[in-house]
Amino acid sequence: MTPTVLRALFSHWRRNKLQLFTLLAGLALATALWSGVQAINAEARASYDAAAATLGEGQFDQIVRADGEPIAQADYIALRRAGWLVSPVVEGRLNGQRLVGLDPLTAPGGLGPVTLEEGSDVSAFVTGAGQVFAQAATFAALGPTEATQVISPDVAPGTILTDIGVAQRLLGAEGQVQRLLVAPDQPLGQPSLDEITDGLVRQVAQGGSDVGRLTDSFHLNLTAFGFLSFAVGIFIVNGAIGLAFEQRRSVVRTMRALGVPLNWLILLMCFELLLFAVIAGAIGVALGYVIAASLLPDVAATLRGLYGADVGGTLQIRPAWWLSGMAIAVGGTALAAGAALWKLARMPLLAAAQPRAWALSGGKALFWQAGAAVGLLLMSVLLGVFASGIAAGFGLLASLLIGAALALPLILSAILSVARKLARGPVAQWFWADTRQQLPGLSLALMALLLAMSANVGVSTMVSSFRLTFVGFLDQVLNAELYVYTADEAETATFLQVAEPLANAILPLMSTDRSIASLPAELFSARDEQTYRDNWTFLQSVSQPWDVLARGEGVLINEQLFRRADLALGAMVEVAEGVTLPVIGIYGDYGNPIGQAIITEELFQTLYPEVQPTRFGVRIPAEEVQSLRTALKEAGLADANMIDQAGIKAFSLEVFDRTFTVTTALNILTLAVAGFAILMSLLTLAALRVPQLAPIWALGITRRQLGFYELCRAMLLAVLTAAVALPLGLALAWVLLSVINVEAFGWKLPMFVFPAEYLRLGLFALVAACIASAWPAIRLARTPPAHLLKVFSNER
């Protein structure tokens, strides 16, 4: 029985190849976008982890030579024997790749590809010809080595890790190391660095800027995109399955009448769908790989530039990613088919087997849809006003989007019926009436378009707002032309001696870690300087905050602290044992995961006399920055400890433009999927359309005109959908910026609107709709009269 029943079921797809294609293509596209985005995220995260795990940069203090020369290995041993727990790092270029040599026995925190804790093969790593660890692409660029090559996707891109001895040999740098990593916990009774050897400086790890944390907001964007694309794809699949099941009602009835048990039939249909899901899922994951592989270089460039996070430009195949892609395909199919199977299971044997026009929502269904839409939108308002927490944020996002999608057909229907009433000529009236009648058949595709467009509006608003805000923030924070870090008091003295005659102003920065309002935070000092008054803007502040601050009568806090500790203006904050000050201003501090507070320099020095300034901002005419740098270098300060502001800014802006490349590519991809949904809906409807259009044609409207009207109809619906998508997208952006960001990262980004951008997006949507409806329209314009005439005759 089973083969016979299966053959009967499959015959439907053989006869309706377009439907099968829609189903498979929709599912494959949904999976592709989802898994493509996931792949990019996974790749980036793996790269951060690799970088953090192998290089320890930003994680540990480092010791280097002030003159930038390599450190003698003897100095390393001298430091160890004096009680400094440092670990040597040899670094150099080999065939253009970065070769890093570590000592696994002394490396802090389990750095490197082999660690004692994990029990890897230390022997092979440290003795004999040794081992080199890198990604396959890195080895390809490196060429053959005497040391065994171990392909390791976890190593940062373009980097080769090996034992320190092997690295020295490969680089021809025996007896030299580039830098020393300083373990966080040092033994008691340690002598100071200059008692042991000359010329070494300690660089403090850049605290508080955990790369993974910072880049999370970027990945959140990508994930939102992936999710919405997937939702769009599932709308397509839902449509295709719904239609197929509707059309197969009579087949199902006949087979049941012939004695095939209903449960068995449903089981076989599930099997059928599972098969499709697996096929489409495989295609989708492969496509996703292509998407990810082509986008990754831009994503990598963005992340590298924005956050200094090194991400490989090439993609690793990760099994987990394949599995999740397949799971999402099967899950999506189940989601899309659930309702259809449920209806089928409850269908009485003798129900009317006549296929009804699919998805023609009757009054009752419409009522429920309207109810659900209103309920969800209401819920999103309630969540927006009353709820807090990141889960509530995402709940708000979901209810807003689904509610709006459900409401879309009702909104469009209302608009069209008003237009119908306002229309003059008979053809115009027919056009509006007919368009409204097409709505149920097109509504899934239009919902998909709505989601795609609003996602685009939302995400591009978020990214652009982020750019504007971040640039403004850089202007505020990087108000000095040059930043200098000093290692100790002697170096500070040297710096001041050189810089003071040349600079317009020197802004020392002192800080101490201190829990504020029971949250981890840093307390900073600020000198009473015009620079701050000129550049800083506050989210909220008392009047003349800098004057109050200068009198030592208040404290400035960052937004993270303000939100997390719920500290309003005037709230009392303990800045030292027994010293409390009122909050007099709140400033934006984007990209910093922890709290921050600022008091005036005099007060800071009184409260924390032991803290010496080691960071300085130098106000100096931009054209003199270079000469100051040179002078400082000659005085013995390490060039690596000076950062000039213009460089950072130019770099940041260039990087944002890369971000836009990625965003635009994803925009176009999601719109393409929505366009595909429209195309498939129109093609599916085409057969049903002939009897509706034949009378009009018979009454004297040419086929060409009819085709033209079809085109206009699709574009009109796209424009109307775009009109709904714009406010929805702005709402989405608001949720992302003001709710999700606050919950996830502790800062709220001001929202800016970009009308030109939205207009461009609207044009994209119009083009997508135009392309999608062109083929059905041309087909209609070329329908042979005999085909139309068949509608009227008995032979049909």
Partner: protein, 347 residues
């Protein structure tokens, strides 16, 4: 005998050995030398490293007291573990060094650990003058009888002077010490007669202390048989000046193989073969979620020994890469005294 600690260094040798834990000590030892009976020790050379053997240690424990009589304990240990039976200059020397140091007070136990590569000067042992070092830690002196010792970590440090008041003693058959019924063995001698004085620095403060120290020297290539899972090692100093070193190597839940050395105040040593020495747990304590025996009954009938051995501080857990229990003990019963207890295979 402290074999177990060498396990830590030893298991660096391979992943599979790591997975086996202490059982890894039962591995075969191709290319390495094996101890044989009848060896003639040559000093001071034999105080230095023997790279042709897989594992080796310089293992010092001390029972101390301050001016009020408050008891303390300390441990200074340097392990050598060979990946191959040779030593060369440079990073590719296949010898790896590991060190543990600890201070135990009645209320605290402070532990730290170091690792080092051979061949670059970060760690090593030389015979003349004697110096065993890793980083800033050292145990050194113009002779083996008068030494300075230092070690420390982020929480504690100690600086000590050692003077020997007796001769070296050689365990087993003139220093050939058998560890199992299947013949696994090591070279094993001790200096149990050190007078020690110096300063401990702990979070509880700086404390001047004096007492007795016991230094073990042992090297081997495969000291345990495959089915031996852990051991309990006792070094006890009685008030009458006699000393007892005894251990049992457990096989699963069974007592397994035992050995004891009875040491007279003049250094005369009587070895006792398997079965003479007995140790039974009397009480176990919950040490960080593990059940560890912290009170024992120790019996050596031939010398009239039937004592209760009690940990000074139950929490003397060595939370290092291969964890174990090691701490000072009090002895009461047929004889009174102090000592050190080491237990492995309870993690």
């Amino acid at each position: 005998m402290n074999v177990k600690l060498a396990a830590a260094g030893f298991v660096l040798w391979s992943t599979s050995a790591w997975a086996q834990g202490f059982a890894g000590l039962g591995q075969t030892s191709e290319g390495f030398s094996d101890p044989t009976p009848g060896y003639s020790f040559v000093f001071p050379d034999d105080h230095a490293a023997h790279p042709e053997y897989r594992i080796e240690w310089w293992y010092l424990t001390a029972n101390l007291a301050d001016e009020h009589g408050t008891p303390y304990g300390l441990q200074w240990t340097l392990f050598r573990s060979a990946l191959a039976p040779r030593a060369t200059d440079g990073w590719d020397s296949p010898q790896i060094w590991m060190a543990h140091a600890a201070v135990t007070t009645p209320d605290g136990h402070y532990v730290t650990e170091r690792f080092a590569r051979d061949g670059v000067g970060q760690a090593g042992v030389t015979a003349t003058p004697f110096e065993a070092w890793i980083d800033e830690w050292h145990l050194r002196g113009s002779s083996f009888d008068t030494m300075e010792m230092r070690a420390g970590g982020p929480e504690f440090s100690f600086d000590m002077s050692l003077v020997a008041s007796g001769p070296l003693v050689f365990h087993g058959d003139e220093g050939f010490s058998v560890k199992s019924g299947e013949g696994q063995a090591s070279y094993y001698y001790s200096q149990p007669f050190f007078d020690i004085s110096g300063t401990l620095e702990t979070p509880e403060g700086r404390i001047a202390v004096t007492g007795n120290a016991w230094l073990d020297r042992e090297w081997s290539s495969a000291p345990l048989s495959e089915n031996q899972t852990g051991w309990d090692w006792f070094s006890l100093s009685f008030e009458d000046g006699t000393k007892l070193m005894g251990f049992q190597v457990r096989e699963g839940a069974d007592a397994g193989y035992t050995y004891a050395s009875w040491i007279e105040p003049d250094g005369a040593l009587t070895p006792y073969a398997n079965g003479a020495f007995r140790a039974e747990p009397l009480r176990t304590s919950d040490v960080g979620g593990r059940d560890v025996p912290t009170e024992w009954r120790v019996v050596l009938t031939e010398q009239g020994i039937d004592v209760t051995v009690t940990a000074l501080n139950n929490d003397a857990w060595m939370d290092v890469s291969v964890p174990y229990w090691e701490g000072p003990v009090r002895v009461s019963g047929s004889h009174d005294g102090v000592g050190y207890l080491e237990m492995t295979g309870y993690e």
